[in-house]
Symmetry: C2
Subunit: 69 residues, 2 copies
Amino acid sequence: MKNRLRLLRAERDWSQGELATRLGISRQSVNAIETGKYDPSLPLAFRIADLFALRIEDIFLRDEEGAGE
Amino acid sequence: MKNRLRLLRAERDWSQGELATRLGISRQSVNAIETGKYDPSLPLAFRIADLFALRIEDIFLRDEEGAGE
DNA sequence: GGCGGTTGTCAAGGGAGCTTGACATAAACG
DNA sequence: CGTTTATGTCAAGCTCCCTTGACAACCGCC
């Protein structure tokens, strides 16, 4: 499960800490998700999608997706 | 976090056990998700969406969604 | 009556998600 | 030089997700 969180965050010029505050989670959790240590829970994935006004499928990618570009 | 799993399963005439097999999880997990005991992980939510050929947002609903209709 | 199939639920265990607190590194700035 | 900011990572702990195994209740059918 890959994700485009780091890219989306960079587009908005947010630090990990700032994103964490907006999501209501810790900075370490943002970092862990960005670096691929684990996937967010489904409710958190919805909050992330809502924050960026995107669909979950547009942020989190099945492992095959976007691999062979 | 509500979901339409029971409805989708009924449309296909699958038992909880049959759905569990198709998803690669236990029958108890299917039951727990249907009865709202907890939300699936994000990877599992993707498998569910793939199985029903729907988007995650069309199966799992934010708590407000569909509540005040 | 008994039997197979489905569902709900409990217990106990393990791994994943998230927390706080701390520390190290690097870059930017005075 | 020192300070601040951003990032990566570790440890310890708690809750949530998912497991296996079991049991009760219900239904339809013989």
